[in-house]
């Protein structure tokens, strides 16, 4: 039986690169101003799945839920070695919290059908919640290994996987029956660079949205089906699924399916404390140290 891994990936705003014009004067975030990147831990998750494929053969499918632009990241997954990429995209998925997200992902995974391992990063850098992995596992009725650092062994005959995961002040080694969902923490593995041959091939891979945009530009809407068939025939189609494709219940998706709501967002107000500006001179430091000593800070 050949190994099939599904890797959950997310395109995220690069929150480590927030500059002045990203914040609007009212304190809200202008997401359009942030560069979109491949969530780092998801990239490591993909690398782990690809390493297993190198060793055991089989297939790797990448799956994301996101806006049409997430096709860019899916192409990256194809350049690295994924066999199939799926873009789950529908306006009705918008503003999903982790519960609505994991609902949609689990419906898409069920639609994919067979799988042995599901990988994902531990968390995405735009929310740091680490909730979507475990919630997706729960909805699929699967075991999970969170905080995975390394896959130690995979026995496809006995259908068992052994992995090392981080725990407080140490690690533990777990053995789980397949299928299982694993979330991967940073520094588990170094993602491989793009394969040049694959890049040449898959830079032409397109999603349905991109095909529609191409047809739109040529003012020939009939062309869509033709392009779609061509992309599929050449294995250059980034499968593009909406709510109906995965048989999801609309009321469980997007904002409607999200129990958590943002009640309010505040600009960070800095609390002023008694503040002394200390000159960077020996006298300035001496005075400050003297005050701290009087306050018994050092002893």
């Amino acid at each position: 039986m050949s190994l099939h891994s599904i890797v959950l990936v997310k395109q995220v705003p690069d929150t480590s690169n927030i500059s002045g014009d990203v914040m609007r004067p009212d304190g809200t975030v202008n997401r359009a101003r942030l560069p979109a990147i491949f969530n780092p831990e998801d990239k490591e998750a993909l690398e782990l799945a690809l390493q297993l494929k190198d060793q055991f053969g089989g297939r790797v499918t990448t799956l994301t839920m996101g806006p049409p632009a997430a096709a860019n990241m899916l192409r990256d997954t194809l350049y690295m070695g994924a066999d199939r990429a799926i873009l789950l995209s529908d306006r009705r998925f918008a503003a999903a919290d982790t519960l609505a997200t994991s609902y949609a992902l689990h419906k898409a995974i069920q639609h994919i059908g067979d799988y042995d391992l599901i990988f994902g990063g531990r968390q995405a850098i735009d929310g740091d919640t680490a909730q979507v992995g475990p919630q997706t596992a729960e909805k699929l009725g699967l075991a999970q290994i969170s905080y995975t650092q390394e896959i130690l062994n995979l026995d496809l005959d006995k259908r068992l996987v052994r992995a090392r995961r981080a725990i407080k002040n140490g690690y533990e080694i777990l053995e789980s029956p397949l299928p299982v969902l694993l979330t991967v923490i940073k520094d588990a593995v170094t993602p491989r660079p793009f394969d040049v041959k694959r890049l040449c091939t898959y830079k032409r891979a397109v999603s349905k949205f991109e095909i529609e945009a191409m047809a739109d530009e040529s003012h020939d809407l009939l062309w869509v089906d033709e392009l779609l068939e061509k992309a599929k025939a050449e294995n250059l189609y980034i499968e593009t699924w909406n709510i109906e494709d995965i048989g999801a219940d609309v009321s469980m998706c997007g904002l409607a399916g999200s129990p958590t709501k943002v009640h309010k967002v505040e600009n960070v107000v800095l609390s002023g404390s008694e503040f002394k500006n200390v000159p960077a001179t020996a006298e300035g430091m001496n005075e400050m140290i003297g005050e701290l000593m009087q306050d018994h800070i050092f002893g």
């Binding site: 777990l174 967002v265 000593m293």
Partner: protein, 340 residues
């Protein structure tokens, strides 16, 4: 909502090897304040093997009841038995609020419990409140305000879960104060039978390796922390030098950890450790809200930064503007000269 339920606020009382994690006790203290606003009792949920002896500590820290799930299968933490048993209990008793420590364990199981019970769950809250809100003319009693920095720390978001019965949150260790225990407080132990399906215990622990951490940031009276402004090992060495002279622990911001300048277990901030030392010296730390959330309760704060507008100065008591390579040797000299 179940009107007969007296204990609407629950805390997962995390334990390992018969030792309660501090975070559970900190959350009990917070849970008491939340429960008072709801005129409710507080319950702790304790899972383990022969852990009944931990109940008095939970009562002393604020629990009125302890749901005790005691079974040899629960000796070591495993995701499915723990998550499934808590899920069953939550479904059965329907509390309004369930709090978990944002630990490796809490972050592993809280999402599964929330998923199965379709509850709202917010990760890494830095503050919690109970309020009754009126939204579009509908009154929502006893909402849990789940407050956390978001989006790179540029904003503080208040999250609510108005349309579901159960509201959950995870909170990092050290964020809430523990409060002092009252050994005279008594409570009720409610034993819950443990039944597990073989499928739920199919994941086996092959090996477990834990070393007590040599790092005790929470207990350190003085902390010297470096950030992205100390972005080379040479610059970071100044931080070690200063810490050595002061007898301080060394810590770092997330930027310093991400840059590989310091270990993750020494990270201060929302996703690291929250500290309240007598003196916190922030070197080359710009002071994003996530970092400030982890240190702004320090008794005295010295900020050293070459960016005169760095937000860290707004929470500091002393600000020194300039290059750390110039300032730290002067600071060490000033300290040494006054020791005599």
């Amino acid at each position: 909502m179940n009107s007969k339920q007296k204990d609407l606020v629950w805390v997962f009382a995390e334990q390992a090897d018969g030792q309660l994690a501090d975070v559970g006790l900190e959350l009990l203290h917070k849970a008491r304040m939340l429960a008072e606003k709801m005129s409710s009792e507080v319950s702790a949920v304790l899972l383990g093997d022969r852990v009944e002896s931990l109940c008095p500590t939970l009562f002393a820290h604020g629990a009125d009841n302890v749901y005790l799930l005691d079974d040899p299968e629960l000796k070591d933490f495993r995701t499915q038995p723990y998550a499934n048993l808590i899920t069953q209990l939550v479904e059965d008793k329907k509390p309004r609020v369930v709090l978990f420590g944002a630990t490796h364990i809490g972050r592993d199981i809280a999402p599964r419990v929330a998923s199965h019970t379709r509850s709202g769950l917010t990760a890494d809250c830095t503050e919690l409140k109970i309020e009754t809100l009126t939204i579009k003319k509908v009154e929502y009693p006893d909402l849990l305000l789940q407050i956390r920095p978001a989006f790179g720390g540029n904003i503080i978001a208040t999250i609510i879960s108005p349309d579901v019965a159960i509201q959950m949150a995870t909170i990092r260790e050290g964020v809430m104060e523990m409060g002092s225990p009252d050994p005279k407080r008594k409570g009720t132990i409610i034993p819950i039978p443990v039944e597990l399906d073989p499928v739920e215990i199919a994941v086996r622990i092959i090996e477990k390796h834990q070393e007590p951490s040599g790092v005790n940031l929470k207990g350190a009276p003085i902390i010297v922390a470096g950030g992205y402004g100390a972005d080379t090992p040479e610059k970071f060495q100044h931080i070690y030098d200063l810490a050595k002279v002061l007898g301080a622990e060394v810590a770092g911001s997330r930027a310093a950890v991400d840059a590989g300048l310091i270990d993750g277990e020494r990270q201060v901030g929302q996703t690291g450790t929250t500290v309240r030392p007598k003196l916190y010296i922030a070197v080359g730390i710009s002071g994003a809200i996530q970092h400030r959330a982890g240190m702004q309760e320090s008794q005295k704060i010295i900020a050293i930064n070459n960016d005169p507008d760095a937000p860290i100065f707004s929470v500091a008591h002393y600000g020194i503007r300039g290059d750390l390579e110039d300032i730290i040797p002067k600071l060490i000299a000033a300290y040494k000269s006054q020791l005599h």
